[in-house]
Subunit: 204 residues, 2 copies
């Protein structure tokens, strides 16, 4: 939490203020839990700044709801009711995205993932949100469903102050190379090692 | 987010259900950002379960407010107003704790840290909260201001379903040995490496 001084002052033609306010492209990767949780924690900060938040979960089931979804949706309602914080949109891929009405495509996750990315691309072009969480988006990239080079191009050339956080294991190297901030969550010890299963309120 | 199967089924005399619902003692350590953010993200899950949340920040300045504080306090208000989620208490050490009225002890962080721990001990004994975040508590332990062995004893022997998450660098080995879940946040890349300073909404 220290406001910390940078080690290096780059010769990039930007003022400190301009450099400070460059939008962040972050990746949370590694084998351990905390990747998404930390991204949603960052979303709380973004909310507190009054920023518009867009969460896009590249998950297979739309029924799966993590506690963070309820909490961030509740914060979105606080914003609607009182003006405090910022607006929150939360979209899950599941069997088709919430903006798409089609049914019966549960099997075609690759097409769903591409459709999700196309929508994110449109929103980035329209500068629709200030803070994007592309949750578990590393998987469609890793599996080649969505083209990593295109994602890198689009994110790198995005305009305005749009922060982007991508979570998930196996983030492609080209994505990591393009990111400003990469955190790897490393397992030191996990209760499942000693036979404890996931539990409500902790794992989801 | 997978509900995952454990690798080992231990011979500990517990049923799977009992084992599953054992309260968690977690540590978020390592040199990289995300330790506290992930803990506050977990607090969103806990809130969504209707659990009572107690956050204790072992920070030097009470003026410092992270976005997560505003967001979790807003969620606590949602609970008060609508019954959704759980209650939230947020205490900062700063120059004395909120439950203590004394002034002028800014210099005596060691005594303040011990006082904070005594209060947490009382609350654990009273089973006051379901989910505790002891934010940056690793430092008073590392510096010897609070006795690690006592903390381990108290946390290990706590009753009921009280989850505890401790964050901060340099967590003592005895604490790590006692924890169920230890995540190390490892730096892969940070914007300060290339001269970018921390910014509002991202770093705090």
């Amino acid at each position: 939490m220290p406001k910390g001084q940078p080690d290096v002052v780059p010769n990039d033609g930007l003022t400190t203020r301009q450099r400070r306010n460059r939008p962040i492209f972050a990746i949370h990767t590694g084998s351990m839990k905390g990747k998404s949780t930390a991204a949603f924690g960052m979303a709380m900060r973004a909310w507190n700044q009054g920023w518009s938040i867009g969460v896009f979960q590249f998950v297979k089931s739309a029924k799966w709801r993590v506690g963070e979804e309820s909490a961030l949706r509740a914060l979105g309602e606080v914003h609607e009711n009182t003006g405090q914080g910022g607006p929150v949109e939360w979209h899950k891929m599941g069997a088709g995205w919430s903006w798409s009405r089609k049914q019966g495509t549960e099997q075609d996750h690759a097409a769903d993932a591409r459709e999700g990315w196309e929508e994110i691309k449109r929103r980035l072009a329209a500068k629709q949100h200030d803070f994007y969480v592309l949750d578990e988006f590393s998987y469609p990239l890793h599996w080649g469903w969505v083209d990593t080079d295109e994602v890198v191009d689009v994110i790198r050339s995005r305009e305005g102050r749009q922060h982007v956080v991508i979570t998930g294991r196996n983030a492609p190297q080209a994505l990591i190379d393009a990111a400003d901030l990469v955190v790897e969550m490393t397992k030191v010890k996990h209760p499942m090692d000693t036979g404890q299963k996931g539990q409500r309120g902790i794992e989801w």
